[in-house]
Symmetry: C2
């Protein structure tokens, strides 16, 4: 039993047209019109495959193929939203490989004891509404539904309103349900598989992640007649934090990574001293203890910068996901699938967050990684060869069939 | 002969309502609908005062009161656009004091040998379209008309198109015309007059100004699985420039000021390493030589930051206005007016650019400063007392009457 490589490639091509950028990347940000168009196409394909489609209160799409027994289903899944100027593999690939597995089971009329299904998660990226993985977070009971609905984008639009606007505010409760397992195929988004020329990564778990928000309130004033001696420039303080976050990464070393990805200046014109600057800090490490060391360092950097420039600082550590180990049943099933395929593989840890992180709190969970060219992702240059995708999708098929009792 | 304080206050109140912010400031950015509404009100008042109103190719509004002889007019003026979240004094005050002078000449049926008029300049702030003072720059022949028309805002809208859209694309040539003098009243935007408790500043000239644009091109990537060792983060390089610009100001000292006022991150989300960052650098000094020293230092800071982070840098020094001394005739006329009023005054240099800077290339030019509370401007807290405004407006009236041969 093997997936249909040509059919999978064709689906990737078709879905990748929706929100395609001029340079061949993807801008299909959560709950935009393009997200709706992408979802509509996926739902059409699901129905054509004879799957039972439902939408939950967070807009997550479920599509299920019946099993021969009344048992909890095995789910595969990922997300269909992208970052702005992102690529065509992050999220979309996992969704389409899941669909391809279901189509392949149909092709062979393969019965499974457990039902097999797929989930398309809402707003995994967190590019428009924070935090990321908000819909699996609600499903796992880690984020209150009302908080998720009240998340606002930069224009002040509410997630709940935007879900309704694009027609994906479903009625199924977004709560944990009985599941045999959850499997997610994803691109690695790092350089290891490519560097070691191994096509398949068997993910053991996901690193711990912390997100903070820092705001400096300085004194907005004219850039010309305001002497240097009286300035309180919010951007000067913020720049010190950008440098300080980099310095923290040099102190902790190892696999620790630290990023200021977002920085917003007010009023942001050449001839005004910045009165307010907000910035994000993303910290990750395989060991919780290293985040526990890094966060007080960050507080210290922010306080020192504020003091030096005479500005007021606010800091909020608003999101933390602990290190998530995956389930031995699922990791083992993927390893057996790789062995059956005779395909090179290694165990690997994920540096990126995924919906699988929250799903691990609901049911036995695991992930399959395929290589990312140059380790690049969240950019238009994101790319994975079709050979590698085929290996990954077949591993997903075999692991899923094993867990579902094919 | 004195201006009507109550009438001036009433006009300030009425015009200040158009684009007023909830916190009592002003957001009337150039060529927006609010700018149009502000212009419409000014034109109505000009016509009610019996002035001959014309609009030139850059949307500058001219309003002229006849003289008794066919001589070149004396013009007063300023601008009616504001920065976003700016105040109600920068620009608007100079325009309304000019109008009040013309109304006062009408009240007394005071004949002048030279015609007396006022100019409302387009897009002085440069908040929406760069460079600042673009319309007086075109008038003085320093900026080609086509370049000005092709200036684009952040949404890609053309200045020329926006002028037409709001109905202020006039047909009068925007070229130097014979003028007896140009006078501009403005808030100081610095702390000196307030600190020294002097109500009137007689401006001797404007500092030299340089604007640069720096862009770093790094490698956009995922903030999680991308190890620190392979990163090329455009924001880390940009932060080094923000700190470096501050360091340059500490080296040059004196009256030198240096500001990074604008900084734009792409894609600007918490979990992507910034792939591109653009920033503005505004440098000013009363001495040209100090800008000549500072610019190579800036180049050096940018090169060093790009090298350290392994990113590509572009730097463009795209606008420079030399130090502008004002004309002894006009400076003298204002000093005599201050003496007549018996009002405290001192000579002062402007740290901010003004349309007067370009007008000085066309005709004898001078400026009057009134105090700014706390030296604050380009912010909602901008404020000047009505007593100080009255002194300034009367000085403008008497200096203008003297130059026009009342």
């Amino acid at each position: 039993m093997r997936i249909d490589r040509a059919r999978l490639a064709e689906s990737m091509e078709a879905l990748g047209k929706i929100g395609e950028t001029p340079r061949g990347g993807l801008s299909r940000v959560a709950l935009t019109d393009d997200d709706r168009r992408g979802r509509d196409l996926l739902v059409r394909w699901m129905k054509e495959a004879g799957l039972a489609v439902t939408i939950d209160q967070m807009g997550n799409i479920f599509a299920v193929r019946s099993g021969t027994e009344a048992r909890p289903p095995v789910f595969m899944g990922s997300h269909a939203d992208s970052v702005p100027s992102g690529g065509k593999y992050d999220g979309q690939l996992g969704v389409l490989c899941a669909l391809e597995v279901l189509r392949t089971l149909n092709d062979g009329r393969t019965p499974t004891r457990h039902p097999v299904g797929m989930i398309v998660f809402t707003n995994e990226e967190g590019a428009r509404f924070q935090p990321a993985m908000i819909a699996s977070g609600v499903m796992a009971g880690k984020i209150p539904l009302e908080d998720a609905y009240n998340a606002r984008d930069r224009d002040g639009l509410r997630l709940g309103d935007e879900l309704a606007r694009i027609g994906y505010l479903g009625s199924e409760p977004c709560v944990p349900r009985p599941m045999r397992a959850y499997l997610e195929l994803h691109i690695e988004q790092g350089p290891i598989l490519e560097e070691e020329r191994i096509p398949l990564g068997i993910v053991e778990g996901i690193v711990a992640i912390s997100w903070s928000r820092v705001t400096f309130h300085g004194v907005q004033d004219h850039a010309g007649p305001t002497p240097m001696r009286v300035r309180h420039d919010a951007l000067v303080a913020a720049a010190e934090v950008v440098a300080g976050v980099r310095a923290i990464s040099r102190k902790i070393r190892g696999n620790f990574v630290a990023t200021v990805g977002r920085l917003d200046v007010t009023p942001n014109i050449p001839n005004a001293i910045p009165g307010r600057v907000g910035l994000s800090v993303d910290l990750r490490d395989p060991q919780e203890a290293n985040l526990d060391r890094a966060l007080p360092m960050l507080d210290q950097v922010v306080r020192a910068a504020a003091k030096r420039e005479g500005v007021r600082a606010e800091i909020e550590h608003y999101w933390r996901v602990p290190r998530t180990p995956f389930h031995p049943d699922v990791v083992g099933a993927i390893e057996e699938a790789a062995a059956t395929l005779g395909c090179g593989h290694r165990r690997i840890l994920s540096g990126a967050g995924h919906d699988a992180q929250y799903m691990a709190a609901i049911c036995p969970t695991g992930m399959i990684f395929v290589p990312s060219r140059g380790g690049r992702s969240h950019c238009e240059e994101e790319w994975t060869s079709l050979d590698d995708i085929e290996h990954g999708a077949n591993a997903l098929l075999l692991a899923c069939a094993r867990l579902a009792g094919a």
